[in-house]
Structures are given as C-alpha cells and as structure tokens.
C-alpha cells in the first residue's frame, strides 16, 4: 500500500461530523437531514453516493451491537434496475438507501443508549408509473423525517412521525390529514423527477402513453420501523407503522413471536392498501383503518425482519403449523445461514413463492 492510498483510507476513518465538513457539499445524501437533490435524467441508483458507515461509539457509553443485512432481489427473469422495491436506513449520523446491489453486505453497527435508528421498506405497484422512484422517495423521507426532531433552533420537539408512532393514542383524522400533506409534499418531488426523466428520455416529444400513464400517478406500500435502545432494561423498544402488506416479523428463540400487520396468508392480495402520488386517491383510499401501528421490545438474540409482500405471504403460509415453523427456522432464521438470495431464488423458481420483487431487512442483536 503506498502513501496516497493510506491518506484516502485515513479520510474514510474520520468521524461523521468531520466527513460532513469534508464531503458534505459533494455527498449531501450521506448526511442526516439532507434533502435529495434532483438531477436531470439520472436514475436514483446513481444519485446517492455510498458512504462509509459510522465509527463505533466510544466504549465508555452504554451501547449495543447489532447486525444488519439487507436483500433486494428483482423478480426472476428481471434485472436489479427493474426492481420496484426500495429500502432506507438512518441513524442520527448516517442515511443509506437501496442502490444497484442485491445484497447489502452484512455489517455490524452500534446503538448508543437513547439513540434511535429508522428503517423503511416500500413496494412500488407494478402497474404504476415510475413506482420504483416513488418507493425510493417514500423510504428515504420516512427514515429521514422520522429522526428529524429538531427545529430550526436545534431544539428537540415532537414531529408528525412522533405522533404517527405513538401507538398509545388512536390515530385521529387530523393526524391522518397531516400525514396526507406529508405524502403530498413528497409526491411533488416524484412529479418533478418523473417529469424531468420524461422530457429527457423523449427529447421533449413525450409519447401519448407516457403522458397518459404519468397522469395516473404512482402507488407504493410503506413500512417504517423506529428502534431505540433503553440501557436500564437492556432492551430495545421498537415502534412500527405499516401501510399495505409489507410486514415486520419479530423472531425470538427461532420462533415467530410477533407479526405487524398480523395478516393471514389469504389476506395478501393483488390490491393492498397503497400510498398514491395523487391527492384525491389518498383522500379517498388512505384511511385510518389502512394504517397499522404497533410496538414491542427487542431483546438480545432476537431478530427483526422487514419483508415485502411475497416473502411475508410465504412466511405466513409456512408458519401455520408446528412442523412448518420448525422447517422455517431451519431454512431462514438460523444464524449460520449467511446468504438467503439462493434460498429465495429456489423458492420462486419452484413456484412455492410468488415471483415478485423481494426486499428483506434482517436485524440481529449481537450481544
């Protein structure tokens, strides 16, 4: 290794705030609370530069180690660029979103006492226009805004997402309206970006079918998880909000402990609850009943999975009996299992699982 390589590696080892100062201008998406920059004719996969993960927090502070692994697989016979699922992950220093890789390399993070992290997954509707873009915008802004609890004077304050995650209080129509407004603001970003691509790809002469399809807008599901470490009880408190049929699976001792939303296998249909880019659609179809919320305690050795619909449907179906649950534990939940891509490909190829895009975020507490 020569001297210049060493210097670059040194830069990558800087603390997050130092990275922000040095790289912030060029890699705005790597910082928390940054807004995505719209670039002409660029696909989202290329918009966001990869950043190194945060350095471990000093050992003197109470903290836990946890393991993150993410899979994002396109339908069999399709390319990763055609995958319409999206995910995003954020903690107080760092935000990352899905890009052009199938498996996010497993990595270990540290969560300090009191600190929060947010993870979101979304499944863009196949029949919608530019639904991958809509799924990416929803996930990025959900994790960013869920942790963004400081006002302009840097004071902590509750925000929309604090209320959305407050499972103790029933979701009011007023809060639902605020959420719809949040969606409408993000839909403007989608429209602007989709329109720029439209013009860029067609040289200004937009075909009739692109124009007509764009008029119908886009649709996607959304599931957001917020996790906070509580040092005195040595547990993590998690809260989850789901719109549509993406599910959170909480595994304890290799068994399914909890599922949110708690759907039956036959409830995974072709028409789940969706978030649209169209205000009228959301006013009509995005209802209080369509937003599922829950919370729980995440203990050492537990696993949390965030899965899009086809995988969720399969897990639900396969965990109906004791024998199936044991089989499932052997196939998927075992810690020795390193790479699940081949398992999912085989299941889809054998028609045991629907041939759909799959996103799985696997969180494991490493005590």
């Amino acid at each position: 290794m020569n001297t210049s390589q060493l210097r670059w590696l040194d830069l990558l080892r800087l603390w997050p705030w130092q990275q922000s100062v040095l790289f912030g201008e060029y890699f705005p998406m790597g910082r928390r609370n940054a807004r995505p920059q719209v670039k002409k004719s660029a696909q989202p996969a290329n918009q966001i530069e990869r950043r190194p993960g945060p350095r471990p927090e000093p050992r003197s502070l109470p903290q836990i180690r946890w393991h993150l692994e993410i899979y994002r697989l396109p339908k069999l016979g399709y390319t990763l660029q055609e995958c319409e699922d999206a995910w995003a992950y954020a903690n107080k220093d760092f935000i990352d979103v899905c890009r052009d890789y199938e498996t996010y390399p497993p990595r270990t993070y540290h969560l300090r006492f009191g600190a929060e992290l947010a993870i979101a997954i979304s499944d863009g509707a196949t029949e919608s226009f530019a639904s991958a873009l809509w799924a990416e915008i929803l996930t990025f802004h959900a994790v960013n805004d869920a942790l963004d609890k400081r006002d302009r004077d840097n004071r902590l304050q509750a925000n929309l997402w604090s209320y959305m995650f407050d499972t103790e209080t029933p979701l009011s129509n007023k809060l639902l309206d605020e959420f719809r407004q949040w969606v409408a603001a993000k839909a403007k970003l989608w429209k602007r970006q989709a329109n720029q691509w439209r013009v860029a790809e067609s040289g200004g002469n937009v075909p009739w079918f692109i124009e007509a399809k764009a008029e119908r807008g886009s649709h996607a599901t959304l599931l957001v998880l917020l996790l906070q470490y509580d040092e005195p009880s040595h547990t993590c408190h998690y809260r989850v909000m789901a719109i549509g049929d993406n599910c959170l699976f909480h595994w304890r001792d290799g068994r399914l402990f909890k599922m949110v939303p708690d759907l039956l296998a036959e409830q995974f249909t072709v028409s789940p609850q969706l978030i649209g880019t169209d205000t009228d659609y959301n006013r009509r179809y995005l209802t209080v009943e369509g937003i599922q919320r829950s919370s729980g305690q995440f203990s050492p050795g537990d696993q949390l999975w965030l899965a899009t619909d086809s995988l969720s449907a399969w897990i639900t179906k396969e965990s109906q009996t004791e024998r199936q649950a044991n089989q499932l534990k052997k196939i998927l939940v075992s810690e020795e299992r390193q790479n699940l891509s081949q398992v999912f490909d085989q299941l889809r190829s054998d028609s045991r699982m629907k041939n759909d895009d799959i996103t799985l975020v696997r969180l494991r507490w490493v005590d």
Binding site: Q43, K75, G77, Y78, E82, T126, E127, F129, A130, A132, L133, A194, W197, R198, A200, E201, S202, V206, P207, W208, F209, I210, E211, A212, K213, A214, E215, R216, V270, K354, N355, D356
Partner: protein, 281 residues
Amino acid sequence: MAYEAEISRRNPTCFLFLIDQSGSMGEAVGDGSGRRKADALAEALNRLLMDLCIRCTKDSREGVRYYYDIGVIGYGMKNEQIGPALGGNLAGKELVSVCDLAESPLRVEQRPVDGRMLRFPIWVDPVADNGTPMCAALRRAHDLMQQWVAKHQDSFPPIVFNITDGQATDGDPEPAALAIRQLATRDGHVLLFNLHISETPATEEQRRNWLYPGADKEATLPDDYARLLFRMSSVLPPHIVALAQAEGMPVSTDSRGFVFNAPMTEIVRFLNIGTQPKNLR
C-alpha cells in the same frame, strides 16, 4: 388448468377481439344518443386498447413492457369478409405486441377532458357493412390461437372476445367455437367470451338473467340462437368471477363469459373486467 400463470415479458398473454362489422351494426344503440352500434363499439375498443397500452407502460426509460399480444379481426367488411381491423402502420397485421400497438395508432386525436386537451389514440374506425361471417372469423381465430399457444405453452391462456349484434350468415359457428376452446397452454384452455349487443325490449329480470348466465339460467334464454352463444362461451375463470363480483356484477362460479341483448355499457364493463390481469409481473 388453474389460470394462475404470471403475465410477464417472458410469458405474455394474448387478447383477440373479433368484431362484427355487418350492416346491422349501423343501427342506433338505443340509448337515445343516436350513435350507431359500430361507432359505439369502435369507441369502446379504442378506449380499451388505450387502457391496455397504458397498463403496460412502466416509465419513461422503458416505455411499454411486452405483456400482451393483441389482435383485432373484423368480420362483415365490404371487400374482404374477414380481416385485421387495425389501420395505419399495423394494417394487415393480425396479432401485434402491445409495444407496437402503443407506438403505431392510426392517428392521435386531441379531446377536451376537464378543461384540458388530452391525446386519444385511434386504432379502429367504425365499419358497418354486408353480412355476418362469424364462422369464418372464428375459424381464423382458431388458426391464430393455435399458432400462438404452440409458442407460449407457459403463458396465461389467450382470451378471445367475440362482439356481435346478430346471427352468423355463413353457417353454424359452434364447431369453430369448440375448436378454439379446446386449445390450451399448460395453464388452461383458451377462453372464448361472446358479447351480444342489442337493445331489444326485455324485462328487468330477463336482462339480469341474460348477463353472465350459469347453467341454471340457460333455460331463461329467449331462443335457440341465444342458447347457441351460451354453449359457445367459456366458463369464467375464478379471478374474473372475483373481479366481477367486486364490481357488483351478477356472476357466480359457473357463470359463462356471455351476455345476451346487453347494452353497450355492459359490453364495455365486461371488456374492462375480462382484460384485467391476475398476475402481472
């Protein structure tokens, strides 16, 4: 034979529309608008084709994804008894991909919608002339579908929609209809749905019984011709039954893809339901 196959680029499906262009299609539809049946059918078909193209459009980079092969065969035309009804660059082609269909309408009209001008593509112009050579059309449909299923054994089976207002003038269409329904992919037999447009006076109960009748309603059909069309029609697959029931349509698990003496609005409604995909991927 489950009608479960996914519809994807690798395994597209096929919709074939046989449209009656005989002289009787020049009569008014009977809704008081003064429109001819041929005009109303062409309008409905153009809207449906437009919707199929839009459904397959992914984004501005990919454009239209190849999910469907589509054909429109007219019967009763002036110079040639049956033949492809698509015009422009697609003239003479019996089956085209949805990508080609989207790229090559006959013309694109500007129409006002909610105070804005929107583009409406036109592929089929109305025609109302001569007899009703339904048998020839069904035989041609059989040949086309035979070739198609041979190449697409893993696909969702094709659906043939036969839209007519009268009786065949070239013989008994039942053998040709049976031959079509005996063709199959590994996922199921080819489906043949018969949609009979008419505004002949009938009671409310009769009208209701003549929409998607099951075996128990066959006896209520008014004549031999209606019963012939009933026998020619396939039973609706489960996903269409579910979609139709969700729309409040009077269907049951043994309902056939058949309407008799139905107004144009019902024809349009069924075309929309019948072309809804189950597993678009």
